[in-house]
Amino acid sequence: MAIRTEPFILNVGPQHPSTHGVFRLRVTLDGEVVVDVEPVVGYLHRGIEKLAEGRTYTQNIPFTDRLDYLASMTNNFAYVLAVEKLAQIEVPERAEYLRIIMAEMMRIASHLMAIGFFLNDLGAMMTPVLYMWREREKLLDLFEMVCGQRLTYNYMRIGGVSQDIPEEFLPALKKFVAEMPTFIDEYEWLLSQNEILLARTKGVGILPRDVAINIAASGPVLRASGVKWDIRKADPYSIYDRFDFEVPVGNVGDCYDRYWVRMQEMRQSVRILEQALEQLPGGEVYAKVPQLLRPPAGEVYGHIEAPKGELGFYLVSDNSIAPYRFHIRPPTLINLTALKDMVIGWKVADLIVTFGSMDVCLGEIDR
């Protein structure tokens, strides 16, 4: 006698500990096996794109903080780069270096968060998260020292940065840069060779190379699939062409590769920080830019390599004080479109792990 079974629908989210925000996955399960996934987004929609059309270019900078709130500094960076490209503003040398330092610090902080919660989704209850938060906390202390806030920095300005760094910033950052490789080694010791982690992540949630390219994935998700594509190298913005660093690339595109790529990227970011600290020049940090900026009419697309992927801002100016159109290309929303292909046929536990390894941020997806 055959047992009659039927698939059932499980709502993972919007309130679920592993959806990293308010995200809903409408999962069809056959026992434990995922048959179908339908992501439902929009629970955190605040209409930032529309809000930005009614505000001046400078007033929009705090709004970009609210996109990917785990990496606010890079959001600022991408936006001001786009505006500077639009208005053709030259940025002082020291400000460029400060921006790079901030962006790389932010990348380390964001990856620490991503890895920690990825391991938490795997079931390593809070321990990796707290170890990695310790280092993230050190970075947040430094951000707080520079710009007065720990989450929504609002530090970059069109034409530079808002303030020069205080004198105690550089010694503290130098100490951090010196210590950080030891801590990364420790994280690798903690779980990188762990048999359970390997069993849970190797070969699980594979994003093939061609699919990754087709869906326009970017960031560590794309690089884990074996595509050597990093905007810092491919289209060097700011002064990234002055630094010597490598782009770590995975070869399979499974969850473990995404974890590994992030781990290696932190090491590379430390390298960039070391070089930037050596080369940091003196001088002004803010170009003379009018308070009410009126860029010439036209359109511009500025993109940077944010911790989560290619973050782009598409701005259309009609020579007024506010952008005519303000569009954001969020990396994680586009990476997330691959989720369905990656989890069909896997268990519900793998769904959570794969989703965690994508490192999404709902503030950016829903905007």
Binding site: T58, M145, N154, E168, S192, N194
Partner: protein, 182 residues
């Protein structure tokens, strides 16, 4: 024949957690122990210096939320007299753009971050509540205030190097308060 996955990874991980058993905890017992915040902290507080304010409303124009409400009338010496300077902290996102834009340094962010209220109405700060009577202005975009504030405590220096700005500042010794379930 190479043996690699016999539990060595698990043993390494266990060794790391065991090592952490002997490291000092990094958490701060908040109401009793407080960290020294950054000198440039953008706390949940705004300080308004009425004697310096000319009522030019640059701050109101620079606010992304349109959150600052200023009403003035022309006074005896052909100057603006501020009748109303109101700010809704419930809508403010403490971006600091008003402080940066003020040409007369009449606004400053505050150091305090303990501004919770039970009612939303209490979050609207009037002219009187914004004045610097019991407030400490922070050094955000105000270098001369910044220099006078104490050094920020940094986790990176840890407990041993506290003189250089280490982690903890114990305002109230923990043992006296312990057990009261604060």
């Amino acid at each position: 024949m190479k043996f690699e996955r016999y539990g060595i990874g698990i043993a390494k991980g266990m060794a790391i957690t065991f090592k952490h058993l002997f490291r000092p905890p990094i958490t701060v017992q908040y109401p009793e122990e407080k960290l020294v915040v950054s000198r440039r902290i953008r706390g949940n507080e705004l300080v308004w210096f009425p004697d310096r304010c000319t009522g030019c409303a640059t701050c109101a124009k620079s606010c992304p939320q349109g959150n600052i409400e200023i009403a003035t009338h022309v006074g005896s010496e052909n100057n603006y007299v501020v009748d109303k300077f109101e700010l809704d902290a419930g809508r403010c996102m403490f971006c600091g753009l008003c402080v940066e834009s003020c040409p007369y340094e009449a606004l400053a962010m505050g150091v305090s971050y303990e501004q919770a209220q039970y009612r939303r109405g209490d979050l609207v700060w009037s002219k009187e509540e914004l004045q610097p009577l019991n407030k400490r202005p922070s050094g955000y975009a105000r270098p001369e205030i910044e220099a006078a504030l104490p050094k920020q405590s940094l986790l990176i220096y840890g407990d041993k190097e506290r003189d250089e700005g280490g982690q903890k500042l114990r305002l109230i010794p923990l043992s006296k308060k312990r057990g009261r379930g604060v």
